[in-house]
């Protein structure tokens, strides 16, 4: 039963990774790409790691996947925040469709 749940989580994570990468390709703007890519792929990779933990139990592979899950959940949001910060201050203008109040862009 646990293995079935594990494999279900793995395939669920694969779909998230595919749609995250698809968002990386099709989104019009750096900020939309950043949002879809890092959020979906991080969640997908996290559920795959948790799926491997469910499948392999408390063996060496399972505990290492939990450790990788912790590192991933700590790393990826901060990395994407730093990338968005860097992109904003490197003068990348968001696409015209996004509505921004005027004084927001003055320091970019």
């Amino acid at each position: 039963m646990i293995e079935i749940l594990g494999w279900f989580l793995i395939f669920n994570g694969l779909c998230f990774i595919f749609f995250g990468c698809l968002g990386l390709v099709r989104m019009p703007d750096i900020y939309c790409r950043l949002q879809t890519a890092t959020k979906c792929v991080t969640f997908g990779a996290g559920s795959i790691l948790f799926g491997t933990f469910l499948i392999s139990g408390f063996s060496s592979i399972g505990l290492k996947s939990i450790l990788c899950l912790i590192f991933l959940f700590l790393n990826s949001p901060t990395a994407s925040h730093a990338l968005a910060y860097g992109a904003f201050f490197s003068g990348v203008k968001p696409v015209e469709k996004t509505e921004i109040e005027e004084d927001f862009l003055k320091d970019a």
Partner: protein, 84 residues
């Protein structure tokens, strides 16, 4: 089992497409970050299927180094000197 690897190959090709085409350097650094994440998933799958737990070490090391590389790329994007 190899369908999963082909599936991940498609995701890697999408990241490479964004690396090649990305107009701004920020797109390229995002795509490199995501490429690292897909490679982590690749390593995890390989260790799950073959049962060798050494590949999990690669996945953990790759996630840490990918994080540091993303931070450095973001700092490089800002264009400021590294001292402040």
């Amino acid at each position: 089992m190899n369908t999963i690897f082909i599936f991940l190959g498609i995701c890697i090709f999408m990241c490479i497409y964004r690396i090649v085409k990305g107009p701004t350097p920020a797109d390229r650094s995002v795509a490199i970050d995501i490429l690292g994440l897909v490679i982590i998933v690749y390593c995890v799958f390989y260790s799950l299927i073959t049962g060798i737990d050494f590949y999990m070490n690669i996945a953990i090391a790759w996630s840490i180094i990918g994080f540091v590389s993303s931070l450095t790329l973001a700092k490089f994007l800002e264009g400021r000197k590294f001292d402040d």
